[in-house]
């Protein structure tokens, strides 16, 4: 499993891996917002956490279509499925999700504090948003894996995956943003939505890979 993790990490940073595409998209969205909204600093700092979360969500969805498709095109997916008895397919999927998250999504989380400055957010708010992104974005990858597995045989499945997965990621977005607000706005709680966010990630870490493994098993042709 460790070898699969390392292989996918290597692939994501080599040429054509697309690890940086998500970060650049994230950067582009956040940098554009102040131009569109106007130089109202109070407004920017108020919508900051929500904008960071929405941009991160969309950037996460961007790279998902290649999660299994690249392996399918070169035949690796057949061998990953065949090794089901040695490495349970759901665990293989989980490993691939973790590698994808580390390679493509973790850079977003690391870039988020810097981009928070663009949105005139205060340090506490930036910290809280980065923390909720760190805890919440794996959930998007896990649920996205199920979508990617369903659409694996479709040549242009990227958009379909986003449409399939987006409704399912709404709870993650809601609790992520409300926890980020809770850290700065006084009456709103931080801990409760944050714990629900963590619970969502843990829940989807089980359900997502199992669903994706089922879809992959029945999707081979």
């Amino acid at each position: 499993m460790w070898s699969l993790f390392m292989r996918d990490i290597r692939l994501s940073i080599r040429a054509g891996g697309g690890a940086l595409i998500g970060v650049i998209f994230f950067l582009a969205v956040i940098v554009t917002i102040p131009f569109g909204v106007g130089p109202d600093l109070n407004l920017l700092s108020r919508i900051g956490p929500a904008i960071l979360w929405i941009a991160a969500l969309l950037a996460c969805l961007l790279g998902l279509d290649r999660l299994f498709q690249a392996d399918r095109e070169d035949g690796s997916l057949d061998l990953l499925v065949l090794n089901n008895d040695r490495h349970m397919l759901a665990l293989t999927v989980l490993t691939k999700c973790l590698a994808h998250w580390t390679g493509s999504v973790l850079p977003l989380v690391i870039a988020a504090p810097l981009l928070g400055l663009f949105m005139n957010m205060e340090p506490l708010g930036i910290g809280a948003t980065a923390l909720t992104l760190l805890v919440g974005t794996p959930a998007i990858t896990f649920i996205g894996a199920a979508g990617a597995a369903v659409a694996v045989a479709l040549p242009r499945g990227g958009l379909l995956i986003s449409v399939l997965v987006l409704p399912l990621t709404i709870p993650v977005l809601i609790f992520g943003v409300s926890a980020s607000y809770g850290a700065v706005a006084d009456p709103a709680p931080f801990l409760q939505p944050f714990l629900i966010l963590a619970a969502l990630t843990l829940f989807l870490a089980v359900v997502g890979p199992i669903a994706a493994a089922l879809a992959l098993r029945h999707g081979t042709d």
């Binding site: 070898s3 692939l11 070169d74 690796s76 061998l79 089901n84 008895d85 040695r86």
Partner: protein, 203 residues
């Protein structure tokens, strides 16, 4: 160990491609699947490997023990695609499959020497020619030990010398108690191999 298929049928998209196929292979036996295009040679191999659902009948291994309970666990599947990443070096590709598939066999360098690619391990897989890619893919059969080899057009793109070398590898595998099932149009150079001819139904 035995590989047994009984009254096996396979379908693609709801259409029956073949049916009523049966064979039983003992240790050291090879089966060559021949026949015109479209008679279901590749489908047969995928059904045997367990990549496609069995439409009728069944296929199983006997005497595989703990390590090889199913055909999928006991088999190397070499399909049309090489299952190697163009962006990674040949060594990294083989090293990954060696670690992932378990039952480590030859070392990566040794396996590359065996298929005549010694000294090319550091190159990205994408830089190799078609025949070299196929040979690297054949090296994948050597880096982890599996008793059953399921080969789909294994010699496609190979030159004469490589074909002979590959025939030698298959003979070695059979002498070591392995089983080979190969779909091919070209003679593979295995003596005493049994042959299964697929025919178009209704002609």
């Amino acid at each position: 160990m035995r590989l047994i298929a009984e009254n096996l049928g396979g379908e693609r998209g709801g259409e029956t491609v073949f049916s009523g196929i049966g064979f039983a292979l003992e240790k050291g036996e090879a089966l060559i699947v021949t026949g015109p295009n479209g008679t279901g040679k590749s489908t047969l191999l995928r059904v045997v490997a367990g990549l496609l659902p069995v439409a009728q009948g069944h296929v199983r291994v006997e005497g595989g023990g703990e390590a090889f309970p199913t055909v999928a666990a006991a088999a190397h599947y070499l399909g049309h695609l090489n299952a190697m990443k163009p962006a990674l070096s040949v060594e990294e590709n083989l090293g990954f499959w060696r670690a992932f598939q378990g039952e480590p066999g030859l070392g990566v360098e040794e396996a590359l020497e065996t298929v005549g690619l010694g000294g090319l391990g550091h190159l990205p897989f994408g830089y190799l020619s078609t025949g070299q890619r196929r040979r690297a893919s054949i090296a994948k059969l050597l880096v982890s030990r599996q008793p059953v080899w399921l080969l789909d057009e294994p010699t496609a793109g190979l030159d004469k010398a490589s074909e002979e070398r590959f025939a030698g590898l298959m003979r070695g595998h059979l002498q070591g108690g392995g089983i080979v099932v190969a779909a091919t149009h070209l003679p593979l150079g295995i003596e005493g191999a049994r042959e299964l001819q697929m025919k178009t139904v209704g002609l």
